[in-house]
């Protein structure tokens, strides 16, 4: 059983890292988690992002967070990527699979996957 003692061990291990983590995080990934996003499948997308960011060792650089309705419900699940000094990237109609790809190619590799982004002509 995952005991509180194990949680204590995690705490002891993470304590130093937490201090390190603050001040970094220059990339922010936001998932729309309002009724529209949740109904369209945002929960597995969010979980895939959290999982892959950790797997790729990007925890210090990338923050994954949740927000309400972004306003383009027909394109949910929507994932936005904010990076200092760059224009916001909006990925639409996301799936857990596409999310993994975004972590690998965009968050890690620095290349925006334009075929998944919102196009002006869609609006």
């Amino acid at each position: 059983m995952k005991s509180l003692a194990e949680l204590q061990a995690i705490k002891d291990k993470m304590k130093d890292k937490v201090i390190l983590r603050e001040g970094t995080g220059d990339m922010r990934v936001v998932v729309g988690m309002a009724t529209c996003g949740i109904a369209a499948g945002a929960r597995p997308v969010l979980n895939a992002l959290v999982e892959e960011v950790n797997k790729e060792g990007l925890n210090g650089k990338v923050t994954v967070s949740q927000t309400g309705c972004i306003g383009i419900c027909q394109f949910e699940p929507v994932v936005e990527v904010f990076e200092a000094g760059k224009e916001k990237v909006t990925y639409v109609k996301m799936t857990a699979e596409k999310a993994k790809e975004v972590v690998e190619k965009h968050l890690k590799g620095g290349r925006v996957i334009t075929e998944y982004t919102l196009k002006d002509e869609n609006l």
Binding site: M1, K2, L4, E6, L7, Q8, I10, K11, K13, M14, K15, V18, M33, A34, T35, I38, A39, R43, P44, L46, N47, V50, N54, N59, V64, S65, Q66, G68, C69
Partner: protein, 183 residues
């Protein structure tokens, strides 16, 4: 919504948005019925607002922030012959909202609960600074998680730390395997 656990995620987001410091998610199951209760100590709503959130046609224009979430849960419950209730108070001394939906599990239109563990971890990941008390009872068996207890152990390590979220996920899965082998 494909799973009731997604409705629970959606409704609990309202509690967090209402500034709740503690949100209690309680599932009570029997072989025939399921009751979902979501109770928060957030800012609450006025009597008029409570009435309006149940009606999707009224709410779309006037209280857009509330929207379709409540009507969807109400529908999911009532289509199984279950009951739905919402009560709220915005008085400064005692404020908060309670949403309760009951379901007839044997009804053909019953939506399965789905991945409730994922809903709980998603809520904690997204809102590490608010507390959740999750309880799921099935007869004598029970699964529970109280983030206030975890916070005591973790001290200043945030609840949305990856390792902590994984611990919560595994802990809940193990509790389910032990308490409710059939789920």
């Amino acid at each position: 919504m494909k799973e009731l656990s997604l409705n629970i995620l959606d409704i609990t987001e309202n509690s967090v948005k209402a500034g709740a410091s503690l949100t209690e998610i309680t599932l009570t199951e029997t072989p025939e019925t399921l009751t979902i209760t979501i109770k928060d100590d957030g800012c609450g709503m006025s009597e008029d607002t409570v009435k309006s959130v149940i009606d999707p046609f009224y709410t779309t224009r006037t209280t857009r922030k509330v929207g379709m979430g409540i009507p969807l849960l109400k529908l999911a419950s009532e289509q199984t012959g279950g009951n739905f209730e919402i009560s709220s108070s915005d008085s400064p001394e005692d404020h908060g909202t309670l949403v309760r939906a009951s379901f007839n599990k044997k009804h053909i239109d019953f939506t399965p609960l789905g991945d409730i563990v994922s809903t709980i971890t998603t809520l904690i990941q997204g809102h590490p600074d608010t507390d959740f008390l999750f309880t799921h009872t099935f007869g004598d068996a029970a699964v529970s998680l109280d983030t206030r207890e975890l916070r005591q152990v973790l001290e200043d390590v945030p609840l949305d730390t990856y390792e902590v979220i994984k611990w919560i996920e595994e802990n809940l899965k193990e509790q389910y395997a032990e308490a409710i082998p059939s789920v």
